[in-house]
Symmetry: C2
Subunit: 208 residues, 2 copies
DNA sequence: TAGATTGTTAATCGATTAACAATC
DNA sequence: TAGATTGTTAATCGATTAACAATC
């Protein structure tokens, strides 16, 4: 299905296709042309066809694309066919907020939360107990954790990431304002740098 | 200072320069060449010089860049010279978590929080009271609010954005999984699509 | 002055857009 | 069959990298 090398620009557009196709599916739209999709999603029709053809010919000449099929194909490409086990490291405000998010509906199951602060360890968020960091290694291995969500302080982030890599985590979703350095290039790191996003907004605000 | 048209790619790198320069400043580093900066930040030296020269010649041949000066220049470019007044719409878990963030240290002052849920209105987060949405218009105008942070449910997002635009908000920092449609192109919209980020991570996880 | 490193132009690379033959 | 729209190749555009003269 997947070719050798798909560009980052294409990959980052996939979730948006997925979102819009889901919406169309819910609205009972069965069929869509690249031109129609272009009108709602804002990419050019040409770009849409190019993007999709990185992964296969999902359309049909003279007809367009079947919405449900395309939605499922993109879900497959994004790996939304299995459930991933996740943990949250750092159960402060943001960690707790993410624990309450409905990522489960997309196939991401929260299997644990960890913190060093005894004020929060023992608490339960949505049936998940916040445990001490000492139990991290054991739980990652026993519960077969795929993804760790780092919501610690800035200062703790790199050392936590080092531990996670050592314990065999497959991916890190990083919410700290730090670019994590991980030697093992098998570990996937995806950053949500909130401050960078806010400063980008600030740039455009100043430009006005 | 700023030329006519700087590309989005450049603008999105600016916060990263800002972060690294701040770190260097704190570590007592006075001077840096594009080559040295390249080694820590991961962009090529050539790209760094190109990026910076979009805004002016901040360096000196044979010497490099003065860290403090460059940090201040980039802060200026990013608009971090004045304080922006912000409000949070939607005081659920995420809204409350963001209220507890220290954006104030970067010059973003939280001036209000709003929700429709009577269970949370009246509560105070960090000295900021959660008010009913009915007071939104008045507060935006009276308190001269620049930025609204939308943390509502998916379903409320567009209608809230419409109101904000009507009340004269300058910028929206959107945390809902919706691409807001705003007719007034003067309103700046910056999205933090958490789900898109997670699905991108998922893509690479599946690829392994 | 000699050495270092910028600012800037030119070359390359990659991504987007346009065009159109293939085909449903 | 005729019309519509894809899949794909070619053209264009923009961003990154390389090179080097300017200069501190």
């Amino acid at each position: 299905m997947t070719n050798n090398k798909v560009s980052m620009a294409v990959i980052r557009r996939l979730p948006k296709y997925h979102r819009y196709l889901k919406e169309m599916l819910e609205n009972g739209i069965n069929r869509i042309s690249s031109k129609e999709l272009s009108d709602v999603i804002g990419f050019t029709a040409s770009q849409i066809r190019q993007d999709l053809n990185n992964f296969g010919g999902f359309g049909q000449q003279g007809y367009g694309y079947n919405v449900e099929d395309l939605y499922n194909e993109i879900g497959q490409i994004l790996g939304l066919v299995k459930t991933y086990n996740t943990i949250i490291i750092g159960a402060g405000n943001l960690g707790q907020a993410l624990a309450n998010y409905n990522f489960a509906s997309h196939g991401f199951k929260l299997e644990g939360m960890f913190d060093i602060n005894p004020k929060v360890t023992g608490l339960r968020i949505r049936d998940v107990e916040i445990k001490d960091m000492d139990l991290l290694e054991e739980e990652i291995k026993n519960k077969n954790i795929d993804i760790a969500i780092i919501c610690t302080s800035r200062d703790a982030a790199q050392s936590v990431a080092d531990d996670l890599a050592k314990y065999g985590i497959k991916a890190i979703w990083n919410f700290t304002p730090v670019d994590l350095k991980i030697n093992n290039h098998e570990v996937i790191v995806e950053n949500v740098h909130l401050i960078d996003s806010l400063l980008t907004l600030s740039y455009f605000l100043k430009e006005k």
